[in-house]
Symmetry: C2
Subunit: 327 residues, 2 copies
């Protein structure tokens, strides 16, 4: 029977679930000034998506707050360390959007090698580009997955059905998981880039992964498999900032990249007249990895169930800041 505020929206069925469990749910956006002014002290729980930024200062100003829930995966909008030190668990819903991101990633890979958005743009401009747009197959190519968590594993599963060879770099993953997918495990990021014509990003944004995809690494990519000059292709449906966008633009211009497909950007929404999104071999989507009816329904229900468990003192599965809670 807690007071819970939902600041970035949530599926109606999830709100209903919280209310049925006896909680009082308030749905409203709260300004940064009000957050800093201690407005959250009125609530025991807060559920956010990515719009609300819970900085350390804001969390310290929120006296009565007992739990922070992220209806989604990434928690880079929450200072999980400060929350942990104050005894506030940060919980998320890591599985809800997996399939949606997997499908978007495969869609971007196929759209890249077959020029789908560019073909369609041609048709709309009265140009029948059949001759110019000779693509390549994904079958037989080497797909390098940076990070091999749930989403990358889902991508590997479909990519294998398409006939791709799976490569991965993930310093946090036991090798046996990669072996389940017949994935070749690389010991360095550079080794993966030297081997793979297609690279897709599936790690978190951390100081360690910031600009992990840079000009030097792109220049290592082989551009062909056997006789087939398929060019090099980058997809990022993980987090903006992992890919250095100015390096991508330069590599599209000098031909080191044949295509780049991004769902996430360093600055979102992207700036006006942004050269990268106007390049003919680029295509992008506006951070829609989790933007499906299915994912949004699941994320709401998963989050609501997690919050209900918390207030019943039940064991939680996805506490993001466990290590800081214990410190």
């Amino acid at each position: 029977m807690a007071e819970i505020v939902v600041t970035d929206g949530m599926a109606p069925e999830a709100i209903e679930l919280l209310q049925k469990a006896g909680h009082v749910v308030t749905l409203k956006h709260i300004s940064e000034a009000d957050l800093l002014g201690g407005k959250l002290s009125n609530y025991e729980g807060i559920i956010v998506r990515s719009a609300t930024k819970l900085t350390g200062e804001i969390i310290e100003a929120s006296e009565g707050l007992k739990v922070i829930a992220r209806a989604g995966v990434g928690v880079d909008n929450i200072d999980i360390e400060v929350a942990g030190r104050r005894g506030i668990p940060v919980i998320n819903a890591p599985n809800s959007s997996t399939q949606s991101v997997v499908e978007l990633t495969i869609g971007h890979l196929l759209s890249s090698v077959r020029y789908l958005p560019r073909s369609d743009r041609g048709l709309r401009n009265g140009r029948w580009m059949k001759k110019e747009l000779k693509g390549t197959e994904l079958r037989g190519k080497r797909l390098g997955l940076i990070g091999f968590g749930r989403i990358a594993q889902g991508v590997a599963n479909v990519a294998k059905a398409l006939g791709m060879e799976i490569h991965t770099y993930d310093p946090y993953l036991p090798n046996k998981v990669a072996k389940m997918f017949d994935a070749y495990v690389h010991k360095s990021v550079d080794s993966l880039f030297k081997t793979c014509t297609h690279v897709s990003i599936h790690c978190n944004l951390t100081p360690e992964t910031y600009h992990l995809v840079n000009e030097k690494r792109i220049s290592l990519m082989p551009g062909k498999v056997g006789n087939i000059v398929c060019g090099n292709h980058i997809v990022n449906c993980a987090r903006g900032g992992i890919v250095d966008e100015s390096a991508v633009l330069q590599s599209l211009e000098n031909g080191n990249l044949a295509s780049a497909a991004l769902d996430v950007f360093e600055i979102e929404p992207v700036p006006e007249n942004y050269d990268l999104v106007n390049h003919e071999n680029f295509h992008g989507t506006p951070h829609i990895g989790a933007a499906t009816l299915e994912a949004q329904s699941r994320v709401g229900l998963d989050t609501a169930n997690n919050v209900i468990k918390f207030f019943k003192n039940k064991k939680l599965e996805s506490i993001v800041n466990q290590k800081f809670l214990n410190s």
Copy 2:
């Protein structure tokens, strides 16, 4: 040691293969007037793609011609009946482009449900359409495949990895083939449309399949699975004319279709200012199903090997007009 003319181009390695086998290869386009004037009488073999139209009249004017090879699959540009009656086998290369068409079909399906070309158009126009473009997953949806030959089977294989349920209608196929893919076999086209939210075309264009996808059938589609209102989606990477394009435009306008993705059209290239390709929920490609480096290399080699076999009097695997040859 035959004189062979290649009128619509072919991969260099395939031409080399023919020459190494001792044949004299001439690479040139021949005008319709010259074809009608009997120009082909100078050659024992002709290799075409889809540009050269070999009508009955042209074939009858080609005295010395012994074999017609189509470097590709569809033979609707060749009068196979007249050729057969004159004892000229028409041979094709049916397997070369299978994987390329499979990959394009999956790419179109994913692009449809996640609005890839539309998202990209938004970015280029300075619009961040994250809120408007809520998509749906393919997982859990029913994919109806009209025709269940090699390409449809390849599509089914990948669609199963994506978690789709496979449905098919194919009056020429033994049920046991569909069973290998856990596909639900429909006894009528209407039954498939009543059941499936996603329909993809993988049959030939014949009088029987002309406008098989029409307004009435589209209106039968269910538009949802359980609680998820995913809308109805049509993909055609087979042949123009199987889908009634004016019915598709009308269905996009009245909402019976959430999307349509076409690689093939009734008139190619599409007419200027064609309303269908300008609809915001349409996206298309300019007949690029087989337009990959891999398919074009394979199709050339497969065709060259077939022609070489013919002139060595060896058994051929893919004679399209066998029944007319025997009559």
